[in-house]
Amino acid sequence: MTFLLSITPSPVLSALLWIVLVVTALFFARPTAHKLILETGRSLHKIFRIASLSVANAQTTLAERNREVLLAAGREAKERIVEREFHRINETVRKDLANYSTLHRNLSESINRIETDHQEAVDVPPDPPGWVKAVEAVAAIDSKDSRVGIGGVLGDIHKSLVKAHKEAMVAYHEASGKRHALLRKMRPEWREIQQTLDKVGKNVDSLLGRSATIDRHMQEYEDIVKGEDRAVSILSSSSLVFFFVSALVLVVAVGGATINFSLIARPMAEMVGGTSLVGGFKTADIAALVIILVEISMGLFLMESLRITRLFPVIGALPDKTRVRMIWITFTMLFLLASVEAGLAFMREVLLHDELATSALLRGDGSAVINSDYMWITTAAQMGMGFILPFALTFVAIPLETFVHSLRTIVGLVIIGILRLTSLFLRLLGSGFRYLSVLVAQLYDLPLFIPLWWAARDHGESRADNTKFQKVTP
């Protein structure tokens, strides 16, 4: 700096000289510098634009793929649901409507019985009383000849009438009693028919309900097959919900596995030693972890064999006989491992007591060892947990399957989001460089305002002269 200001005796003069020299140099280099700056800006703009387009293309491709994955997953899920609904309908038809012939026969028999009873219950009119003929006979007697004996005849008629009336009443009561008995017999038949018809009605309603459900699922399935945006949107939101719910359940399962680990890690040291290390980790801890992982694997295979999950299509596609064998094998192994865990949990309690006794002895407090009558409760609880937790961990397979399936979509969505942001950033960066180059070019001109003004003035004058000339020449 001192050197720069010492080219003349006066520093101010030196500075002015340098300014003039630099401004002159910048002025003469101006077109080239402007070109360089603007071209650099344009090139960077193009480069970032191409990069942005490339990222956007990748994002579009990924979005398409994600959409396909989502639709495929949705299609598969719907197929499973529809298949299950058809299976239920099949079960209903097989169980209830397979007995339709028996049902029909029962109904026919009931109706026949009712008809027969009804026939028998028809109201029979009572016979006309016997005294009618007697009345006719009395009417036919000549009034002159038989006036004397008419009182006797009328008395007989009266007697006959009373007797006939009594008989008719008795017969009528008997007939009514029989009819009522028949009608009483018909009542359970009606009830049976009604119950049978109610049952049939329920089955038919159930079938109708299921068919409506199938219709709804089929509609959704069609939407998925057509790849409609609405279906994709629904599947996407469902996938998010499934992801978070399954993640939550998996966290709970990890908690269970941790408790399981703490139950068996300590007594495992008794089997494999407490100090040997593998890769910096205690062998006992690794052994305990391996047992838990094997249990989870067995649980996965059991769930696969039961066709509850479909993580391994090979297992699902096995012949039924092999699959059932696999169910039994995996269940037996799980049972054995659970028994081992229960044993280890018991061993843990024994070791804990032993350690407490030793610690108390070393503290010189032998009486501090707890010998409660209720200690068996904790021992039993630990053994129970050791036995139950492996079976509980079996069900991890269900949320795991959901997690794995939804994870694909979620990861896809996250990457799409990142790519979209990257594309936008690159685009902004490209535009930023372009405008920055313009700004730098303007800033370049800033110290050259005097020569530029001079040049513009000259240029204006020459243009004015040219205009005059042009005006004159025509």
């Binding site: 008794e270 100090t275 290390l277 503290r363």
Partner: protein, 211 residues
């Protein structure tokens, strides 16, 4: 597939890495000379505390300081713990019983050969080769050698932690405390010159940081 192979290789490399020893070795010297014999109960307390702090594959030995301590015969009890928890507990109980018997029946010795005991401790711990080596000296640090015993020997205490416990003041120390301070300073210089780390703990209620 490449990624999986890489992962598998890493796992194998990690699992095949040589295992680093984390065990510790403790050698405790107990002064049985003169009036210090009365402090044996405190020594038993420290031994029990040490036992509770030691774990699988650790080594522990207790030796008395008498007229000539550079001898295996002076080792009262020694143990290297198994790596199974149940066996460790049994070993600790047996060791504790041995120490109780020693405390009950120990005789007072006329001379105090601390240097010989320290040499024996170094030899024992070097033979066991634990990761951390600690020598506990339960003594007033007043060495009193019988005529003819040569103990002016160079030590190699590199990696050793020497802890003097319950360094009691003698009657003469009370008259001239400089004797006590000089004694401690002599031992500190001797240990640190030999490459060891020196520490004094007189408050037996603060044994938490002992091992």
């Amino acid at each position: 597939m490449k990624l999986f192979s890489l992962f598998l290789s890493c796992v194998l490399l990690v699992s095949c890495a040589p295992s680093v020893s984390h065990n510790s070795g403790v050698y405790m010297l107990i002064d049985t000379s003169g009036t210090y014999r009365e402090e044996m109960t405190k020594a038993e307390q420290i031994i029990r505390y040490s036992l509770s702090r030691l774990d699988a594959t650790d080594s522990f030995a207790v030796a008395r300081i008498d007229t000539g301590s550079f001898s295996e015969k002076d080792i009262v009890a020694k143990i290297t713990f198994d790596d199974r928890p149940s066996t460790i507990n049994r070993q600790k109980r047996n060791f504790s019983e041995q120490i109780s018997a020693f405390v009950r029946d120990a005789n007072s010795s006329p001379y105090t050969d601390i240097t010989g005991g320290l040499l024996q401790a170094v030899e024992y711990l070097n033979e066991k080769g634990p990761a951390a080596k600690t020598v506990l000296i339960f003594s007033d640090l007043k060495e009193d050698l019988q005529d003819g015993y040569i103990r002016d020997i160079e030590f190699d205490l590199d990696g050793f932690n020497i802890i003097a416990l319950n360094v009691t003041k003698l009657r003469s120390d009370n008259v001239d405390p400089r004797e006590y301070l000089a004694r401690l300073e002599d031992w500190r210089t001797k240990v640190e010159k030999s490459g060891g780390h020196w520490q004094v703990i007189n408050d037996l209620d603060g044994l938490e940081g002992l091992l």
